[in-house]
Protein backbone atom coordinates (compact mmCIF):
# COMPACT_ATOMS: atom_id res chain seq x y z
CA UNK A 1 0.00 0.00 0.00
CA UNK A 2 1.30 3.44 -0.79
CA UNK A 3 2.11 5.81 2.01
CA UNK A 4 2.99 9.44 2.48
CA UNK A 5 6.67 10.10 3.13
CA UNK A 6 8.15 13.49 3.94
CA UNK A 7 11.91 13.84 3.86
CA UNK A 8 13.69 16.83 5.37
CA UNK A 9 17.24 17.47 4.11
CA UNK A 10 19.31 19.93 6.12
CA UNK A 11 22.85 18.57 6.13
CA UNK A 12 25.15 19.19 3.17
CA UNK A 13 27.32 16.08 3.43
CA UNK A 14 27.54 13.35 0.80
CA UNK A 15 26.40 10.45 2.99
CA UNK A 16 23.27 12.19 4.26
CA UNK A 17 22.25 13.56 0.84
CA UNK A 18 22.88 10.14 -0.72
CA UNK A 19 20.76 8.27 1.83
CA UNK A 20 17.93 10.79 1.52
CA UNK A 21 18.07 10.56 -2.30
CA UNK A 22 18.12 6.74 -2.24
CA UNK A 23 15.04 6.59 -0.03
CA UNK A 24 13.25 9.30 -2.03
CA UNK A 25 13.87 7.61 -5.38
CA UNK A 26 12.97 4.08 -4.33
CA UNK A 27 9.88 5.16 -2.36
CA UNK A 28 8.63 7.44 -5.15
CA UNK A 29 9.19 4.77 -7.81
CA UNK A 30 7.25 2.29 -5.67
CA UNK A 31 4.22 4.54 -5.63
CA UNK A 32 4.65 6.37 -2.33
CA UNK A 33 3.73 10.04 -2.18
CA UNK A 34 7.13 11.64 -1.52
CA UNK A 35 7.94 15.26 -0.61
CA UNK A 36 11.50 16.40 0.00
CA UNK A 37 12.01 19.67 1.89
CA UNK A 38 15.43 21.18 1.14
CA UNK A 39 16.81 23.67 3.63
CA UNK A 40 19.95 24.79 5.47
CA UNK A 41 23.19 23.41 3.96
CA UNK A 42 21.37 20.91 1.73
CA UNK A 43 19.76 23.53 -0.49
CA UNK A 44 22.85 25.04 -2.11
CA UNK A 45 23.49 21.88 -4.20
CA UNK A 46 20.29 22.68 -6.08
CA UNK A 47 21.32 26.24 -6.97
CA UNK A 48 22.20 26.49 -10.68
CA UNK A 49 25.94 26.54 -11.21
CA UNK A 50 26.75 25.40 -7.66
CA UNK A 51 29.21 22.51 -7.15
CA UNK A 52 27.45 19.15 -6.82
CA UNK A 53 30.29 17.47 -5.00
CA UNK A 54 29.40 17.37 -1.30
CA UNK A 55 32.08 16.94 1.39
CA UNK A 56 32.34 13.49 2.96
CA UNK A 57 31.70 12.61 6.61
CA UNK A 58 33.77 9.44 6.66
CA UNK A 59 34.91 6.28 4.94
CA UNK A 60 31.62 5.48 3.20
CA UNK A 61 31.48 8.90 1.63
CA UNK A 62 34.90 8.34 0.09
CA UNK A 63 33.89 4.88 -1.17
CA UNK A 64 30.80 6.41 -2.75
CA UNK A 65 32.92 8.63 -4.96
CA UNK A 66 33.71 5.62 -7.15
CA UNK A 67 32.17 4.86 -10.52
CA UNK A 68 28.81 3.12 -10.48
CA UNK A 69 27.31 4.89 -7.47
CA UNK A 70 24.43 7.01 -8.75
CA UNK A 71 25.04 10.65 -7.72
CA UNK A 72 22.49 12.01 -5.23
CA UNK A 73 21.29 14.69 -7.63
CA UNK A 74 20.53 12.09 -10.28
CA UNK A 75 18.54 10.06 -7.73
CA UNK A 76 16.52 13.09 -6.62
CA UNK A 77 15.83 13.87 -10.27
CA UNK A 78 14.67 10.28 -10.88
CA UNK A 79 12.46 10.51 -7.80
CA UNK A 80 10.76 13.51 -9.40
CA UNK A 81 10.62 12.13 -12.95
CA UNK A 82 9.76 8.48 -12.30
CA UNK A 83 7.73 8.82 -9.15
CA UNK A 84 6.38 12.37 -9.09
CA UNK A 85 8.28 13.21 -5.91
CA UNK A 86 8.10 16.89 -4.97
CA UNK A 87 11.43 18.61 -4.30
CA UNK A 88 10.58 21.70 -2.31
CA UNK A 89 13.03 24.50 -1.52
CA UNK A 90 12.62 26.13 1.89
CA UNK A 91 11.40 29.69 1.42
CA UNK A 92 13.39 30.92 4.43
CA UNK A 93 16.64 29.53 3.00
CA UNK A 94 15.94 31.24 -0.34
CA UNK A 95 15.40 34.54 1.50
CA UNK A 96 18.66 34.17 3.43
CA UNK A 97 20.60 33.30 0.29
CA UNK A 98 18.92 36.21 -1.52
CA UNK A 99 17.91 34.03 -4.44
CA UNK A 100 14.61 33.12 -6.09
CA UNK A 101 13.12 29.98 -7.58
CA UNK A 102 14.64 30.97 -10.97
CA UNK A 103 18.12 30.38 -9.53
CA UNK A 104 17.28 26.76 -8.71
CA UNK A 105 17.37 23.60 -10.81
CA UNK A 106 14.32 23.05 -12.99
CA UNK A 107 13.13 19.94 -11.17
CA UNK A 108 12.53 21.88 -7.95
CA UNK A 109 9.00 22.81 -6.99
CA UNK A 110 7.71 26.09 -5.58
CA UNK A 111 9.33 27.73 -2.52
CA UNK A 112 7.57 26.27 0.47
CA UNK A 113 7.20 27.50 4.04
CA UNK A 114 7.17 25.28 7.08
CA UNK A 115 3.49 25.75 7.81
CA UNK A 116 2.56 24.46 4.38
CA UNK A 117 5.09 21.63 4.47
CA UNK A 118 3.98 20.47 7.92
CA UNK A 119 0.31 20.55 7.03
CA UNK A 120 1.00 18.55 3.85
CA UNK A 121 3.07 16.07 5.89
CA UNK A 122 0.26 15.43 8.35
CA UNK A 123 -0.61 11.76 8.81
CA UNK A 124 2.51 10.46 7.05
CA UNK A 125 6.05 9.56 8.03
CA UNK A 126 8.82 12.12 8.31
CA UNK A 127 12.55 11.44 7.99
CA UNK A 128 15.27 14.01 8.59
CA UNK A 129 18.79 13.95 7.15
Amino acid sequence: MSQKLSIVCVTGTREKLQMAAMIASVAAATGDEVSVFLSMNALSYFVKGHATDAPVEGEMGTLMAQKGVPPFKQLFQQAAELGDAKLLPCSMALDLMKITNDDLDAELGPPTGLTRFLSDAEGGQMLTF
Binding site: V26, A29, T30, G31, K67, G68, V69, P70, L82
Partner: protein, 76 residues
Protein backbone atom coordinates in the same frame (compact mmCIF):
# COMPACT_ATOMS: atom_id res chain seq x y z
CA UNK B 1 3.50 -7.54 -30.27
CA UNK B 2 5.47 -7.79 -27.06
CA UNK B 3 9.12 -6.91 -26.93
CA UNK B 4 12.01 -8.39 -25.03
CA UNK B 5 14.98 -6.31 -24.01
CA UNK B 6 18.04 -6.41 -21.81
CA UNK B 7 18.74 -3.72 -19.23
CA UNK B 8 22.45 -3.89 -18.49
CA UNK B 9 23.06 -2.29 -15.08
CA UNK B 10 26.22 -4.21 -14.23
CA UNK B 11 28.82 -2.36 -12.14
CA UNK B 12 26.33 0.10 -10.65
CA UNK B 13 25.47 0.14 -6.97
CA UNK B 14 22.11 0.23 -5.20
CA UNK B 15 19.69 1.73 -6.12
CA UNK B 16 21.21 2.15 -9.61
CA UNK B 17 20.02 -1.20 -11.07
CA UNK B 18 16.49 -0.71 -9.76
CA UNK B 19 16.27 2.85 -11.11
CA UNK B 20 17.59 1.68 -14.51
CA UNK B 21 14.94 -1.02 -14.57
CA UNK B 22 12.17 1.40 -13.62
CA UNK B 23 13.28 3.89 -16.30
CA UNK B 24 13.01 1.15 -18.94
CA UNK B 25 9.75 -0.20 -17.52
CA UNK B 26 8.15 3.22 -17.95
CA UNK B 27 9.09 3.20 -21.62
CA UNK B 28 7.84 -0.36 -22.23
CA UNK B 29 4.42 -1.68 -23.12
CA UNK B 30 2.28 -4.05 -21.07
CA UNK B 31 3.35 -7.60 -21.87
CA UNK B 32 6.96 -6.66 -22.68
CA UNK B 33 9.74 -8.65 -21.06
CA UNK B 34 12.82 -7.03 -19.56
CA UNK B 35 15.92 -8.82 -18.36
CA UNK B 36 17.92 -6.89 -15.78
CA UNK B 37 21.63 -7.67 -15.44
CA UNK B 38 23.10 -6.59 -12.11
CA UNK B 39 26.29 -7.22 -10.17
CA UNK B 40 24.84 -5.49 -7.10
CA UNK B 41 24.47 -8.28 -4.53
CA UNK B 42 21.24 -6.90 -3.05
CA UNK B 43 19.44 -6.87 -6.41
CA UNK B 44 18.59 -10.59 -6.24
CA UNK B 45 16.21 -9.97 -3.34
CA UNK B 46 15.43 -6.28 -3.64
CA UNK B 47 14.37 -6.09 -7.30
CA UNK B 48 11.77 -8.92 -6.99
CA UNK B 49 10.48 -7.16 -3.85
CA UNK B 50 9.85 -4.01 -5.92
CA UNK B 51 8.38 -5.98 -8.86
CA UNK B 52 5.90 -7.79 -6.60
CA UNK B 53 4.98 -4.66 -4.66
CA UNK B 54 4.25 -2.68 -7.80
CA UNK B 55 2.36 -5.59 -9.40
CA UNK B 56 4.53 -6.79 -12.28
CA UNK B 57 5.61 -10.39 -12.77
CA UNK B 58 8.92 -12.15 -12.10
CA UNK B 59 9.59 -14.74 -14.78
CA UNK B 60 12.99 -15.91 -13.55
CA UNK B 61 15.75 -14.84 -11.19
CA UNK B 62 19.16 -16.46 -11.24
CA UNK B 63 22.79 -15.65 -10.59
CA UNK B 64 25.18 -16.70 -13.33
CA UNK B 65 28.93 -16.10 -12.88
CA UNK B 66 28.38 -13.32 -10.34
CA UNK B 67 25.69 -11.53 -12.38
CA UNK B 68 22.01 -11.50 -11.43
CA UNK B 69 19.72 -12.14 -14.40
CA UNK B 70 16.21 -11.07 -13.41
CA UNK B 71 13.47 -11.44 -16.02
CA UNK B 72 10.35 -9.39 -15.53
CA UNK B 73 7.10 -9.06 -17.47
CA UNK B 74 5.40 -5.68 -17.40
CA UNK B 75 1.90 -6.49 -16.17
CA UNK B 76 0.19 -3.10 -16.16
Amino acid sequence: MSDSKIVDARDTFCPGPLMELITHMKRSNVGDTLELLSTDEGSGADVPEWVNKVGHEIISNEKIDGVWHIKIRKAK
